[in-house]
């Protein structure tokens, strides 16, 4: 830079003293640091472009993981969907793909996510509500009926029983004569954040980590294009943590997975390239962009320097992001369209590989077909009309963005080190540290809203008397009955000896050190149900009991 930094600093001081009529109160960042009124070249004094920022597609990836970013490949538009029965979900997927969606994202109902069948007493009331009910391979066959699994990529939001659902997906592909080597997609498989937010855990942390490393090992040989884990900051952010905590907590979880993989004898470069991410894109546009730029750099450093990965693909932070559900309001729900659009803009400016835009009616009910289409259109308008894809990392070089990126990098590293020093993610979860941090910030935000220190349009300011008349999605009350009937007929038609043998093999493998995945494959193909397989594992592994923090 041509200017003399000292001269700029001097001039900035003069400007501040002479031009500002009265002092203004500084705003705080999402992580409670004061933000400067104005950023200038002197804020980037210690920054070296070539070593600190560099070029997209190259270490340390601040400006993006691909050299040409969206000029080379647009981001994947992947709306989270799934409800009711397999048949209804199959129809919704065909509709979304016909409307230009480019990847599928499967939402499972809660019994499926926690490894219960639709006919278990504890499933009553929940079947087919927040996602599609999957009891056996038969349901997966219906969900993907008529969709060639070598042509689409599928993301499945499934954690504790992820290996079993993945086995079902591979079995569906086999029936379509598609080899597993061609399958592309993602399982969430990120159990640690289920203990701190989201809550769909089944087993205690240690056997859960074993399930994860079994998946790493199996996929590296059989499904090389599959993203074996989708580590998430999204849900902890939804639950209340800050942008810095979102990255640091989720990176600490990932460190635990990597260490488990290494301990299981896997080579870092055999599994690290298949680690993918899901983050939360919240309201503050520039902080979110800086968050993604900083996160890419921190991750690249961790993998290259701490874990000694050699393959540059291991260093790349590939992420999906969803806009923030918790930022949406039940009051004046149409306002949410605007919030979602700004958040989606931030996601794209931040270099996301894949995006789901929330629907404006989410604070009221499960989105309708119309509201989901609007979310998809929000993405398409960004992609085709707004010009944000015309150049790589368009905000790079902004004094503000670069200064924030640096600051966040520092803060994230600091927090990761703090968790490392306390023994890593697992102890931090077991002693409730992460949960308490999240809770404390959620409560603080609520108090700020109630004391009008934080404006939420339509909630504590700009209110109107309204009767919400949005046409809401209505769940079909007969889903559970239909699902239970399907289960009955499945159980009477399958070869029960084969099922029993497969379940015993799963049990034996769980007790020993065998990779569980091949046993899951045999079990799902015998049409053993998800609940039956998980019950066997519950017997061997036990169940997780949450630590009380409130």
């Amino acid at each position: 830079m041509g200017e003399d930094i000292n001269e700029i600093r001097k001039e900035k001081k003069r400007w501040a003293e002479h031009s500002m009529k009265k002092p203004v109160e500084k705003h705080l960042s999402d992580w409670d640091d004061p933000l400067e009124l104005l950023y200038t070249p002197d804020d980037l004094e210690d920054s070296d472009y070539l070593s600190d920022i560099g070029f997209p597609g190259e270490y340390p990836f601040v400006r993006g993981i691909h050299p040409a970013m969206y000029l080379g490949r647009p981001w994947t538009k992947r709306q989270y969907a799934g409800f009711g029965t397999a048949e209804e979900t199959n129809e919704r997927y065909k509709y979304l793909l016909s409307q230009g969606q480019t990847g599928l994202s499967v939402a499972f109902d809660l019994p499926t996510q926690i490894g219960y069948d639709s006919d278990y007493a504890i499933s009553e009331g929940e079947v087919g509500k927040v996602g599609v009910a999957v009891d056996s391979l038969r349901d997966m066959e219906i969900i993907f009926d008529g969709l060639s699994l070598d042509k689409i990529s599928t993301s499945m939001t499934i954690n504790a029983p992820a290996g079993i659902l993945l086995a079902m997906y591979v079995a569906v592909a086999e029936k379509q004569s598609i080899p597993s080597e061609k399958l592309r997609g993602t399982i969430q498989n990120d159990i640690l954040k289920e203990y701190t937010a989201r809550g769909t855990y089944i087993f205690p942390p240690r056997p859960s980590l074993r399930l994860i490393t079994d998946i790493f090992g199996f996929c590296s040989k059989k499904i090389p294009l599959w993203n074996t884990i989708n580590v998430g900051g999204y849900h902890m952010r939804e639950a209340g943590c800050s942008a810095v905590q979102e990255i640091a907590f989720s990176f600490s979880n990932a460190i635990a997975y990597i260490e488990a993989g290494l301990k299981a004898g896997l080579d870092i470069d055999a599994f690290a390239p298949r680690i993918s991410w899901i983050f939360n894109t919240h309201n503050k546009i520039f902080e979110e962009v800086a968050k993604y730029r900083a996160a890419r750099k921190v991750w690249a450093n961790l993998l290259r320097n701490r874990f000694k990965a050699k393959n540059p693909k291991s260093w790349m932070l590939r992420f999906h992001t969803q806009t923030s559900g918790v930022s949406l309001t039940a009051q004046q729900p149409e306002n949410n369209l605007i919030r979602v659009a700004y958040q989606a803009l931030a996601a794209v400016l931040g270099g996301a590989q894949s995006l789901a835009a929330c629907s404006y009616d989410e604070a009221l009910a499960i989105p309708t077909e119309k509201s989901v289409r609007l979310s998809l259109r929000t993405q398409q308008i960004l992609a085709h009309e707004a010009g944000v894809t015309d150049t790589v990392d368009p905000l790079g070089g902004s004094y503000y963005i670069e200064a924030l990126t640096k600051k966040m990098e520092h803060k994230i590293n600091e927090l990761i080190a703090k968790i490392d020093d306390a023994g890593g993610a697992i102890p931090a979860i077991e002693n409730g540290y992460i949960q308490k941090e999240i809770e404390a910030r959620a409560y603080k935000i609520q108090r700020e809203i109630e004391q009008n220190q934080r404006t939420i349009v339509g909630v504590n300011e700009y209110k109107v008397a309204e009767k919400v008349d949005a046409a809401l999605f209505k769940a079909d009350p007969d889903v559970a009955q239909r699902q239970i009937k399907k289960l009955e007929s499945l159980k009477s038609s399958r070869d029960s000896k084969k099922v029993q043998a497969a379940l015993s093999a799963v049990q034996e493998a769980a007790k020993g050190n065998d990779n569980l995945m091949p046993h899951f494959m045999v079990a799902v193909k015998s049409y053993a149900t998800l609940g039956e397989i998980c019950d066997v594992l519950r017997e061997v592994f036990g169940e997780y009991h949450a630590v009380g923090t409130v």
């Binding site: 929940e126 809550g199 769909t200």
Partner: protein, 132 residues
């Protein structure tokens, strides 16, 4: 009432969204109430048993999974069966406007949606309990 108001905060069903209920626990506690939080995955039977054991004046149920239609009235029915239906039963979460009337008919006193102020819940509880 001389003793502190005792609130049982609970998550019925399989829903894991607990930001709201935890915020409410902190808020009601700061408002001087005694709050017991059950944690996730409580069956209606477990909730009612805990309410009995803890001698709760209020049961606050939080649910965002869409299973409210089944789970909330079930808690109300069990309370009646155990003859502790003097316990104030309130709920919050993502519960569509159109479902609220039917829930109220089936024993839920009030339903608080997203954006509710903590003070509103506190006042409601105090008002409702002072009438009994």
């Amino acid at each position: 009432m001389n003793r502190r108001i005792r609130v049982l905060a609970a998550k019925p069903g399989l829903d894991g969204h607990d930001r709201g209920i935890k915020v409410i626990c902190h808020g009601l506690r700061d408002a001087g109430m005694e709050v017991i939080y059950t944690g996730l995955r409580q069956t209606p039977e477990q909730i009612v048993a805990t309410a009995l054991q803890e001698d709760a004046d209020v049961i606050a149920l939080s649910i965002l999974s869409g299973a409210h239609d089944f789970l909330l009235p079930k808690v109300a029915t069990l309370l009646k069966e155990k003859q502790i239906d003097k316990t104030l039963l309130i709920a919050g979460g993502i519960i569509p406007e159109g479902d609220i009337e039917s829930l109220k008919k089936r024993g839920i006193s009030e339903v608080f949606g997203p954006g509710t102020r903590l003070a509103e819940i506190e006042e409601y509880i105090k008002g409702a309990l002072s009438k009994t």
